[in-house]
C-alpha cells in the first residue's frame, strides 16, 4: 500500500466532459513524484481531483491508509495534505508573515516554530517578512506560496507547476528547495512543465497524455526511455 494511492480517477469540471480518464497516481512516503505531459493532458486536473477540488465521477483516493475520496479539501488539509495552486497562490495585499499565518489558520497550537522552519528553508522570506506578497518577484512569490502550504506541517505537499513563469536560475533553486523539503520527510507530488529538470530529481514519474497514464517509471527511467525522450523531452 502506497502513502498516496489514487486509482481509476475520472472526472472534469462541473458538468463538462471528463478531462482525466481512469488515471492512477501514487506517491510513497518521503519521495518526489512528478507528473509531466503535454499541454491539456489533465495534469492539473488530476492534482485537483486528488485534493478534492473537482468532483471525481469515478476513482478512489487512499491517503495514509484512509479513504479520503469523499472529504472536502479543508478536511484533506487536516489529514496532512497541502496544495499550492499554479496561479493566485498568495494573498497579495498581505505581508509575507501574514501569508504564513493564514496558511496555519486551521492550527490552534503555537506556529512560531513552523514559521522559523519556513524561514530556514527560504531565508529570503525572513528578510521580506513585512513586505506585501504581491510586491515580490515571481520566484519569491512561489516561495511564499510553498511556505504557506508548509505551515500546516503536511506529510504530502502537492505543487502545481511551481516553476511556471520564473527564471531558469530561480527554477534550479526552487528544485533544490523542494529536494530539501523531501529530505525533511515530506512527500512531494508535483506537476511540471520543465519535464527534464523535474524528472532528474524525481523518484517516480508519470507521463499523462489526454487524461490517461502513458508511462510510469522511476524519474531516471523515464529520462532514459527513448520513446519518452522523443515525444515529450524534445529528443
Amino acid at each position: 500500500m502506497s502513502f498516496l494511492d489514487a486509482t481509476g480517477m475520472s472526472g472534469g469540471y462541473g458538468t463538462g466532459p471528463d478531462i482525466i480518464h481512469d488515471c492512477d497516481l501514487t506517491v510513497e512516503a518521503g519521495e518526489i513524484a512528478v507528473v509531466v505531459g503535454p499541454n491539456g493532458a489533465g495534469k492539473s486536473t488530476a492534482m485537483k481531483g486528488i485534493f478534492g477540488m473537482i468532483h471525481l465521477r469515478e476513482g478512489k483516493i487512499l491517503f495514509n491508509d484512509r479513504d479520503i475520496t469523499a472529504l472536502p479539501p479543508s478536511d484533506r488539509v487536516l489529514e496532512g495534505m497541502a496544495f499550492v495552486p499554479q496561479n493566485n497562490n498568495v494573498f497579495p495585499s498581505m505581508s509575507v508573515e501574514e501569508n504564513l499565518e493564514m496558511g496555519a489558520f486551521i492550527r490552534t497550537d503555537n506556529i512560531s516554530s513552523t514559521i522559523t522552519q519556513v524561514f530556514e528553508l527560504f531565508p529570503i522570506l525572513k528578510d521580506k517578512r513585512k513586505q506585501m506578497a504581491g510586491e515580490l518577484s515571481g520566484g519569491q512569490r512561489q516561495q511564499v506560496a510553498i511556505g504557506r502550504a508548509l505551515m500546516t506541517e503536511p506529510r504530502l505537499l502537492m505543487l502545481d507547476e511551481p516553476t511556471a513563469g520564473v527564471a531558469p536560475i530561480v527554477m534550479q533553486d526552487l528544485f533544490k528547495r523542494i529536494q530539501d523539503i523531501t529530505a525533511s520527510g515530506v512527500a512531494v507530488l508535483m506537476v511540471e512543465q520543465n519535464a527534464r529538470q523535474a524528472l532528474a530529481i524525481a523518484d517516480r514519474g508519470f507521463v499523462l497524455v489526454q487524461g490517461k497514464n502513458r508511462f510510469t517509471d522511476q524519474g531516471k527511467g523515464l529520462l532514459a526511455n527513448p520513446e519518452v525522450q522523443r515525444s515529450f523531452l524534445g529528443g
Binding site: 479539501p73 479543508s74 488539509v77 497562490n89 494573498f91 501574514e98 499565518e101 489558520f105 486551521i106
Partner: protein
C-alpha cells in the same frame, strides 16, 4: 481682531459642522467598504440599515427616558446604542440568511447582488417607516452645548461666537474610536486577518481552511455596528427622519468611491472630502469677507457659490469627476 473674528466665524459655520458631517459619512462609507471587500457588491441597503439601527436606538432611548435613566450631560441615546447595534446585527444577519445567501451559493454576479440590495433597501425603509412613522424625531437630550456662542464671546471678547455641540464632539470621538477598532480588528486579530485573506484571494482562503460563512457573518456584524453608529450620530447631530437616509446614500457612496472602493483608509478620506466640499461650496462667505476686507467695504451679494439645495448635487458631481478622471479613487481601490 477682524482676522480672529473671521477665523472663528469660519470654524463655527464650516470647520466644525463639516468635520462632524465628514465623520458621519466616513463611518457610513466604512460600512459600504467592508461589505464591498467581502461580498464584492455595492450594498444600497446600507443607509437603511443605518436608519434601522438609529430607530431601534431611539426606541430604547425613549424607554430609558420613560423609566428615568439618563446619561447626565451626555445624550441618553449613547446608553441605548448597544440595543440598536444588536437589533441592526439581527437585521443584517437575517437578510444575509434569507436573501443574500441564496445568491451567494449561486455565485451570482455583483450586479445581481446590487439589485437585490436595492430590494432589501425598500423593504427595510418601509419597515422602518411603518414602525416609527415618517415624521421627524428629536434624539438628542442632556447638555446640548459644550461651548455656547454667548459664553465664547464673553470669554474672548470677540464679536463672533464659536458654539460646539456635545453631539459634535461625541461624533468625532466615536468615529475615531470606531475607525481605530476597525483597523485593529482587521490588522491584529485572527478573524480580521482571515477577512483580509478572504477578500484578497477567496479560493486560497478556502484552501487554508477559512470558513466563508463565518467571514461573511463577521462582515455583516461589522457593517451593522458601523451603520448603527453612523445613523445614531447623524440623528443626534441633526434629527432622526427616515426619509433623510435615502438621501444620505449618495454622499456615502460618493465617499466610498472617491476614497477608493474597498479601501478603509480611502473611505475615511472620502467622507471628509465630500463633507468639506459640500459645506465649503454652499457656505455664504459675505460676513467672512467683510471681516477680512480692508476698511468698511462689504460685498454686495451673499458670496455663496451654490444654494444649500444643491448640497447633494455636489457629491454627485464629485463622484462623476472622480469616475471620469481617476476611477480607482484617491487610494487605489477596486473598480466598481
Amino acid at each position: 481682531m477682524d482676522f480672529l473674528n473671521a477665523i472663528v466665524l469660519f470654524c463655527n459655520f464650516v470647520l466644525v459642522p463639516a468635520t462632524t458631517y465628514g465623520a458621519q459619512l466616513a463611518l457610513g462609507a466604512l460600512g459600504i467598504t467592508v461589505i464591498y471587500r467581502i461580498l464584492r457588491f455595492a450594498n444600497f441597503a446600507h443607509s437603511e440599515l443605518m436608519s434601522w439601527g438609529a430607530m431601534l436606538t431611539l426606541f430604547m432611548t425613549w424607554y430609558l427616558q420613560s423609566v428615568g435613566i439618563h446619561a447626565g450631560p451626555l445624550p441618553t441615546a449613547l446608553l441605548a446604542l448597544p440595543v440598536g447595534i444588536l437589533g441592526a446585527i439581527a437585521m443584517a444577519l437575517t437578510t444575509e440568511r434569507t436573501v443574500y445567501r441564496f445568491y451567494r451559493k449561486q455565485r451570482a454576479s455583483s450586479i445581481t447582488f446590487a439589485i437585490v440590495s436595492v430590494g432589501v433597501m425598500f423593504v427595510m425603509a418601509g419597515l422602518t417607516r411603518f414602525m416609527i412613522g415618517p415624521g421627524e424625531q428629536v434624539m438628542a437630550d442632556g447638555q446640548r452645548f459644550l461651548i455656547k456662542a454667548v459664553e465664547f464671546k464673553r470669554m474672548t471678547g470677540l464679536d463672533e461666537g464659536l458654539a460646539i455641540k456635545t453631539t459634535q464632539v461625541i461624533t468625532i470621538a466615536a468615529a475615531i474610536a470606531m475607525a481605530g477598532f476597525l483597523f485593529w480588528f482587521l490588522y491584529r486579530t485572527r478573524s480580521g486577518k482571515a477577512m483580509r485573506a478572504f477578500s484578497d484571494n477567496e479560493d486560497l482562503a478556502l484552501l487554508s481552511g477559512i470558513n466563508p460563512d463565518r467571514i461573511v457573518a463577521i462582515a455583516w456584524i461589522l457593517a451593522a455596528i458601523l451603520a448603527t453608529l453612523s445613523g445614531t450620530l447623524y440623528g443626534l447631530d441633526k434629527s432622526y427622519k427616515p426619509f433623510v437616509f435615502m438621501q444620505l446614500l449618495l454622499p456615502i457612496f460618493a465617499s466610498a468611491i472617491v476614497g477608493g472602493i474597498g479601501q478603509p483608509v480611502g473611505a475615511i478620506l472620502g467622507g471628509f472630502v465630500i463633507a468639506y466640499s459640500e459645506v465649503l461650496l454652499t457656505y455664504a462667505y459675505r460676513k467672512f469677507v467683510t471681516y477680512l476686507a480692508p476698511g468698511d467695504w462689504k460685498p454686495e451679494g451673499l458670496l455663496q457659490l451654490l444654494s444649500t439645495d444643491y448640497k447633494f448635487a455636489i457629491s454627485f458631481i464629485i463622484l462623476v469627476i472622480v469616475l471620469l478622471i481617476r476611477p480607482t479613487g484617491i487610494i487605489r481601490g477596486k473598480l466598481l
